[in-house]
């Protein structure tokens, strides 16, 4: 026979009114869903931003005028773009005071891939001089693509060793990269040599203003300690007219995104706080009613020798049970939405999005559960303090 414990009595009391108990748990669940879901979203976007800033490498990005937004779309969301400027710019930029290094990149957009109607971005780079893509590929233990080889992002169909058809030409997939949470996931990387070979026999490539030595953008690394704005202005002064340029300062791009994240986090926190207050309010009301409704029962407990502490224990146990059930329910619901739909969420947010690791998720979940557990006992505090006051017999009679 199971012992008759405080927990047993508390759970029995909750089972007696299943709909009401479910309603209370739901109030807590709404709060924990908002808090955990919002925290996951914010943490994943922050992860994506960190990933972006780690991989961006360059301090300044030089693009054709009017294409700065397209470049950002390509980098953040992998929205394929193709734009071109004269290829000799990369060498000329090295002579600008404050510029330490430059690396050209070529962007191509396919309108058809072999398997599906989703357009993909191709980025070509020079492995010898590149300081943006090459280093993080090396750190990801990815081989440099050789002749007729490509390295694909995590959302491209195809495994290492397989084949990929681009512009009607077949390439071997040298490696497949891990998720980055940014546009690189839907990007195919190859060398400048492969890209130029490809364009000579291109089918279905979106080509505007293309010359044989064209590049799409030049990544600029600035000398340490130099003022980015000054160097950017120097570049514009010298080359804007001749090459019809625009400048994107990487730090500004990232801080703009970070501001959007800040806005999202603020909204999530406000909502979570509002729902916590609502849950606490609902639970406080419930426990006041409970005290009133169960006066006879509590009176009886006192008659049978229960101390005030014991009664308080029963009520607190009920409060904890409601908080635990609601907290877990909300967390499960948030996981149920964010995990399966994470790609959909990422594309809807239009922000870099890299899902947090399971340990980090577990920590967030534990923190959320702790706060959910606290709602019930805090809300029941007043009732718990009032319990058992006064004569036990009067309590018993007042419940009749």
């Amino acid at each position: 026979m199971k012992p008759l414990t405080t927990v047993h009595i508390a759970l029995n009391n909750l089972k007696r009114r299943p709909l009401r108990s479910a309603g209370l748990a739901l109030a807590v669940a709404v709060f924990s869903f908002t808090m955990f879901g919002g925290a996951l979203l914010s943490a994943s976007v922050k992860n994506g931003i960190d990933s972006l800033s780690r991989r961006l490498g360059a301090d300044i990005l030089v693009v054709p005028r009017g294409y700065d937004k397209k470049l950002q779309a390509a980098l953040l969301r992998g929205e394929p773009s193709a734009f071109y400027i004269k290829g000799d710019l990369a060498d000329k930029l090295r002579d600008v005071p404050g510029v330490e290094k430059t690396a050209p990149q070529l962007y191509l957009a396919t309108l058809d891939a072999a398997c599906c109607t989703v357009p993909i971005q191709v980025i070509a780079y020079d492995p010898a001089s590149d300081f943006v893509i090459a280093p993080w590929m090396a750190s990801a233990a990815s081989p440099t693509p050789g002749d007729d080889e490509v390295v694909v992002g995590s959302m491209i169909v195809g495994e290492a060793g397989g084949e990929l058809s681009l512009f009607g030409r077949t390439f071997r997939i040298a490696a497949r990269l891990d998720r980055t949470g940014m546009g690189f996931d839907t990007t195919v990387f190859t060398t400048m040599g492969n890209a130029r070979k490809l364009l000579r026999t291109a089918k279905n490539a979106a080509i505007e203003n293309f010359q044989p030595d064209s590049v799409s953008a030049v990544m600029v690394g600035v000398q340490p300690g130099r003022d980015l704005k000054q160097v950017a202005n120097a570049i514009l002064r010298e080359f804007a007219l001749e090459y019809d340029l625009d400048i994107v300062v990487a730090k500004n791009m990232i801080s703009d995104i970070a501001k959007k994240l800040g806005g999202l986090s603020y909204l999530v926190h406000i909502l979570a706080a509002a729902f916590w207050a609502a849950a606490a309010g609902v639970l406080s009301l419930f426990f006041s009613l409970l005290l009133h409704e169960r006066r006879r029962e509590f009176g009886l407990f006192r008659i049978l020798g229960a101390t005030r502490g014991k009664l308080a224990g029963i009520v607190l146990c009920e409060a904890l049970a409601v908080g635990a059930a609601g907290g877990l329910l909300g967390i499960m619901a948030a996981l149920g939405l964010t995990l399966p739909f994470h790609r959909h969420v990422a594309m809807s947010l239009e922000l870099p999005y890299l899902a947090v690791s399971f340990p980090a998720m577990a920590i967030l979940g534990a923190a959320c559960l702790a706060v959910s557990l606290a709602v019930g006992p805090l809300a029941s505090l007043y009732s718990v303090c009032k319990i058992g006051l006064g004569d036990a017999y009067l309590t018993l009679r007042s419940g009749e």
């Binding site: 398997c115 989703v118 995590s154 959302m155 939405l337 739909f341 959909h344």
Partner: protein, 152 residues
């Protein structure tokens, strides 16, 4: 009435939701003009069919009063969710590219609704069993009471 609502309504609503996911809420990939529909289109059609079936099962559960029939319907619906779950991955399939609309939206939406439907069916089975046990106990109590009444 309360019992009928509890066993029938969730499954009916989830059935309607299942039909709505691939058609309205998280639609499958659009078929390019002049091209043949892709696999995700047919998967979507199957899900609409399954969704309508679950809706009808929910309606039947609502109107049926017999516990045995309700239990049978719930068990059948549970098996049906398992079958439906094999359509997007095995029986028909979806687009291969992870970035396609059917992969990012429709697939997880459909699987989530099927999981909820399976849970609702399982909950029904547990609840109906509990009702059957309570009915048996009620019979024993009234037998006990009438036996006591006879004795006194």
């Amino acid at each position: 009435m309360k019992q009928s609502l509890m066993v029938g309504l969730p499954i009916a609503l989830l059935g309607a939701l299942l039909a709505a996911v691939p058609s309205h809420i998280l639609p499958v990939c659009e078929t390019p003009h002049g091209a043949a529909p892709m696999r995700c289109h047919w998967t979507g059609m199957m899900m609409i069919g399954f969704g309508l079936t679950f809706f009808l099962v929910g309606a039947l559960l609502f109107f049926c009063r017999t516990n045995g029939v309700r239990t049978g319907l719930s068990a059948a619906a549970l098996l049906l969710t398992a079958t439906a779950g094999t359509v997007p991955d095995f029986l028909i399939g979806m687009c291969a590219a992870p970035a396609m609309a059917c992969r990012t939206g429709t697939y997880p939406g459909v699987m989530a609704v099927l999981a909820l439907t399976a849970a609702a069916c399982a909950a029904n089975l547990v609840y109906l069993r509990h009702l059957a046990t309570r009915e048996r106990h009620g019979d024993e109590t009234s037998h006990h009471r009438s036996h006591r009444a006879e004795q006194s």
